[in-house]
């Protein structure tokens, strides 16, 4: 186990102080049977090693002394200077080596060099809010070791954007011990994707998981531009109860550079199941794990990644509570309530009633 990196599928306990909020949640989801796209955290220890090897921290404190938060130009100038210092600071060899090793291991899992996303993972109170943090420091479709290393530094430096600095001043948060973790995560390359619900939305039956699935990225399933394959799975037994294979005429596929391409599905695939039975059961298992983890009916988005090996290629993209059926009660017609001879008699009589 490294000091400077932490794989999301690590068996060790993720510590929020070292991983930040985003990476901790990614690691927890993975260990709860909800594998997110694979990746690793560059821990706060790495940031600290960079900052503490010289007197950089003291220099920053001095540089910010007497700053007037209302002087926008001055704040901007000082912030830019500090970021420049962080960007040009030498990264200690052990930090660099471990980070590159973690990156290479991830590429190996993906069967070659594939694009990743690099995102900051703040330790909560240091930054205004997640959405703000996300504005400046999420870098998508990053390819190659040096590009990744550069984006990690940019994430570190994003602790000193003008807004982050003024936020901390306004809220009296000390810069002492300020740190930042970074998430490096595979960009999903969806061969197949879709949605799943841990309830049958046609009747509110909670013993079922219903899966919609089509080729490529999930947008067309969500927007209804394509009729997806539809599967019903028994949640307890994980048996496929029903399957409808549809004509899936179009798909969206990633270009690999941040854009998507819309194309016609070739004749051979359009009427074939977009999921194998094994994959379908894995998707259902994922949905069930999300339901269990969040304690309520879930509506998830998932994908089968084309780059990842079988067994590790079913990914959870998003999970949110289902709201329609969770609010109302399922209407079930029970012929024979209770148990014992009265109930048995009722059941027997109902059988002939069913004959009409």
């Amino acid at each position: 186990m490294g000091k400077y990196t932490f794989a999301f599928d690590s068996t060790e306990t993720p510590e929020h102080d070292r991983l930040g909020g985003k990476c901790t949640s990614l690691a927890i989801m993975t260990s709860a049977g909800m594998p997110v796209p694979p990746g690793f955290a560059v821990t706060t220890d790495a940031f600290d090693a960079v900052m503490n090897q010289t007197t950089l921290r003291d220099h920053i404190v001095k540089h910010l002394a007497g700053l007037d938060p209302n002087n926008v130009v001055d704040v901007d100038t000082r912030a830019a200077h500090i970021r420049e210092l962080i960007m040009t600071q030498e990264v200690p060899e052990d930090v660099r080596e471990e980070t590159i090793a973690a990156y290479q291991k991830l590429m190996e899992l993906c069967g070659g060099e594939v694009p990743v996303a690099v995102r900051s993972s703040a330790t909560a109170e240091d930054l205004p809010d997640a959405s703000f943090a996300g504005q400046q420091d999420t870098y998508l479709w990053i390819i190659g070791q040096e590009a990744v290393m550069l984006k990690i530094r940019e994430c570190w430096a994003s602790l000193y954007t003008a807004r982050a600095i003024t936020y901390r001043m306004a809220n009296n948060i000390s810069d002492e011990g300020l740190s930042m973790a970074v998430a490096v995560q595979k960009m999903v390359n969806s061969r197949t994707s879709g949605v799943a619900m841990t309830i049958d939305p046609s009747n509110g039956d909670k013993s079922k998981i219903v899966v919609d699935s089509s080729w490529g990225l999930g947008e067309m399933v969500v927007s209804g531009e394509v009729t997806p394959d539809n599967f019903v799975i028994d949640k307890v037994m994980m048996h496929i109860i029903n399957r409808i294979i549809s004509d899936k005429h179009e798909e969206l596929v990633p270009s690999g550079h941040g854009t998507v391409i819309r194309k016609e599905v070739d004749a051979e695939r359009r009427n074939s199941p977009s999921l194998s039975d094994e994959e379908l059961i894995q998707v259902a298992t994922l949905a069930k794990a999300a339901h269990k983890h969040y304690g309520t009916v879930q509506d998830i988005e998932w994908a089968i990644d084309a780059d990842l090996p079988v067994g590790a290629n079913v990914l959870l993209l998003q999970s949110r509570p289902e709201t329609v059926w969770s609010q109302k009660k399922q209407e079930v017609k029970i012929t024979s309530t209770g148990s014992g001879i009265e109930a048995i008699t009722k059941s027997l009589m109902a059988q002939i009633g069913d004959r009409k």
């Binding site: 028994d234 048996h239 496929i240 001879i341 009265e342 059941s347 059988q351």
Partner: protein
Amino acid sequence: MFGKKAKAMTPSAARKSFVSPYDLPAPKGAEGWQDLYPYNLVFQENLKDKENSKFWFCDSQHWPNVFKPFETVGVEFAVRCLGAYNTRHYIIPPANGIEFRIHNGFCYMSPVAVAPELIGDRVPHFMERAGFYFQNWDSLLENWKKKVLATIEEMDAINFEALPDMVDIEVITSGAGIDPTAKMMADYDRLIQLAYKNWEHHFEFLNLGYVAYLDFFGFCKESFPGIPDLAIAKMVMGVDSVLFRPDDELKDLADRAVKHNLTAVFGKNNDAATTLAELAGSADGKKWIAAWEKAQEPWFNYTSGNGFYGSDVYWRDNLDLPMGYIQDYVVRAAKGEQLHRPKDALIIERDRISGEYAELLDGEALETFNGKLGLARTVYPYVEDHNFYIEHWTMGVFWRKVRQLSRLLHSYGFWTEPDDMLYLTRDEVRPVLFDLATGWGVGADCIAPTYWPAEIERRRKIVDALMTARPEPAFNEPPAEINEPFTIMLWGITTEQVQQWLGADEGDPNQLKGMAASPGVVEGKARVIMGPEQLDQLQQGEILVAPVTAPSWGPVFGKISATVTDIGGMMSHAAIVCREYGLPAVTGTGSASTKIKTGMKIRVDGSNGTVEIIG
């Protein structure tokens, strides 16, 4: 089996029909087979219209082979007694019994419904009678075991021995004045009656076990639409059935052999007598023999058949059989393999399943679920256990006595082969016994040796000719829909299955559809086994493909990786055993044993009920 006939039997003109038994010729050389069986078991010419108005399905699950005349005793006793409990004991409101006929040597069945206007009046009687049994289940079952064991004991005490040259002097000195022939004839009658008695008891609890199971089944189907039948079976299943005890005993014996360093003796694969003689040479070996002897009564009253055929071999009558299984087990135990069924894991899985379904319910629905599940679990062990007491133990003793009598009469030259008495119906045996009593008494030749050998030869040819043809799956027009749950559950006969039989669903010839009887997916080499005598061909890891299996094939289930059968539902023997052993099973495929050949690579999906030929 409990009804649905009024509607179910209404013919639907749009559908294809199965052949009428009246239009199905006898296989070549089997002409005149009707005379071999009692008149009331064959389709009579003067009842043609009436019989043709009914749908009959072949029960090759219980009777996969052609009956020899004596062997009709099994179907007659079993199905008559089944019906009597519905019709006369518990007054099951919608259902009487099942009619049965023999045609071309195989058994066909047709359930008998109750006229709709009579059903209501039966309800209070059913509630009073069945209710009494449910309320007093445990004490009545305790008493049941006593009754059944007493019958077995009485049957076991019967012996057919050679008649003396002179009556015993005791007969003279005690002034008894009676010779042994009266006893012989009475013993024969008693043997038949005792078997009949235990077949009555067989159904004393069984039908009630099924209705309680179906009550829970129906509730689950309504609460969780589409719930797999397998889920319901697994929630109810027991893991400690006595049905598995004989096999467990063999495993214990194998473990004991390994523990006491006797592996080498078993490794020689000698027959039982040679192995036992060698074991007798050491102290540990003697202790092993003591354990082996202790296990025999009652657990070796166990057949690799199903109890319905005179040719069924019982372990205690052929010790080479259990010894052979033990030798296989010893090899595996010596490798450190865990032989016993994963009982704890089965219980954990059972409770996980019922727990997760229960979690989806609340309030009254949850109470209902727990109540019905509780009752189903109380009554269900009987559904498995009875099989040991009746099919194995009772019928094991019965057939042993039948063979003893047959061999005795063979020794008098009455027939050519020792077991030829099976070519007589049970009612033809009585005059034969009187023939013996007469010849012996008069001091003249019996007539039998000049009459039966030729007659038996004629019958043997007919039976052999009947065996050359597989049975038709059904006769006449099928109902538009088969929704009678017993037919589906026990025989695996569904609307789709009947359509498949009719050839309506032709589809991919390499795809077979059946009941998802035990979950899991396995690919492997198929081994087609047409009867228990071929079981020794099975190799480790092969997939067993058979017309039907018996629970007593137990020891082979440790060897195979999956099972596929032609006949059988969720509650068929193959299904129950595979669930116990954690093996995938697809039952009721209709034609697996003819479409699949030994050596083919097949993929068995026991979760979805499909079998695919892949190479």
